[in-house]
Symmetry: C2
Subunit: 202 residues, 2 copies
């Protein structure tokens, strides 16, 4: 498209938006014109929120999650159970687990999974600091909540080996058919696993 | 969702994004984390592009399109044909017509269509200034490119009445079945119109 924009500033704003993943030029134009109809304060709040976040973002020195301070709000919350740690790949997974409201322990963000294909080795991930956390004591259970892929399984196994000498309880989140799914349409591997890992009916 | 965000700044940025139309909280989080992975310069360019646009946006005094200057880039372009004016509802429609690369004239942005239901009367639209443009001379043709709705038709008719005394040529964009459409699935009104308004086969 060789469209002539009536305004350079408009073109620039549309270009910036259309660089975002999943946002095409038409959506970008719609978003920019939406913001343009808002009060100046709203537009400034929008622009500055992202700039401020980028300038001031820190990573929690305990769990490596995004944080405003040295220690993140979740780690610093005295209401949470510090003896249980859920190991996840990234911050989106933290938010996913938080969204369930079923977990009141702390997290440990690895920053990825071991993937030789992508050049990610154990040294690129926050695995050593997880071992350090366990060695400092006070932790009863580590819940592994990584993706159910070859890379996730490899990482789980690596962590299992690293923590083998400590006497912390190591668990992995349940895999099986989704709530509401029909057996008929479930893939064989998932259905097979959910049969092997069946639990007592209460 | 009563998710606990690890960072207030992150939460604020996600909130700002999720206020945009069609952007939910998950998409907002994905966009924010994408920007967070970019260089600081990219994030600042993104934030400031929108703020600068909002601060410095003007409306072209000729066609009422968005502009950086008193007269927009399209109106100021000497390569364009100033004797033909395409009348559209809003700037998205300007971009849509520009996208076709079939029009090299100028535009006139009404800012909406006459809609008594929404309390929009002729006085709320840039119709008087269109009449003024015609009266200043040099214009041969006005192309009406409004939506094919009752409101669009009403506005077309109002403009037709207003320009009735001038001897400018008034045309309306063709309505008919879309390129690639099958007759069988076209609605009756559109198909009927495209039969009534048939053109010589060349």
């Amino acid at each position: 498209m060789n469209q002539e924009y009536p305004s350079m500033l408009l073109e620039k704003a549309v270009n910036e938006f259309s660089r975002l993943p999943g946002i095409g030029r038409k959506t970008a134009m719609r978003l920019v014109l939406h913001l343009l109809r808002q009060e100046i304060g709203v537009v400034e709040a929008f622009g500055h929120a992202m700039i401020t976040l980028k300038h001031e973002v820190k990573y929690c020195k305990v769990c490596h999650n995004i944080s405003d301070t040295e220690v993140c709000r979740i780690c610093a919350n005295p209401q949470r159970d510090g003896s249980t740690i859920c190991v996840v790949e990234n911050i989106r997974d933290v938010m996913a687990v938080e969204g369930t409201q079923q977990f009141r322990g702390l997290y440990h963000v690895l920053g990825g999974v071991i993937s030789p294909m992508d050049g990610v080795g154990p040294g690129d991930l926050q695995i050593e600091s997880l071992v350090d956390r366990v060695n400092r004591g006070g932790i009863n259970e580590i819940i592994l909540a990584l993706s159910s892929t070859m890379e996730g399984d490899t990482t789980n196994f690596y962590i299992y080996r690293k923590l083998g000498e400590t006497n912390v309880k190591l668990t992995v989140i349940a895999r099986g058919i989704s709530i509401g799914d029909e057996l008929e349409y479930t893939d064989e591997v998932t259905l097979g696993r959910s049969i092997v890992n069946r639990i007592p009916f209460k």
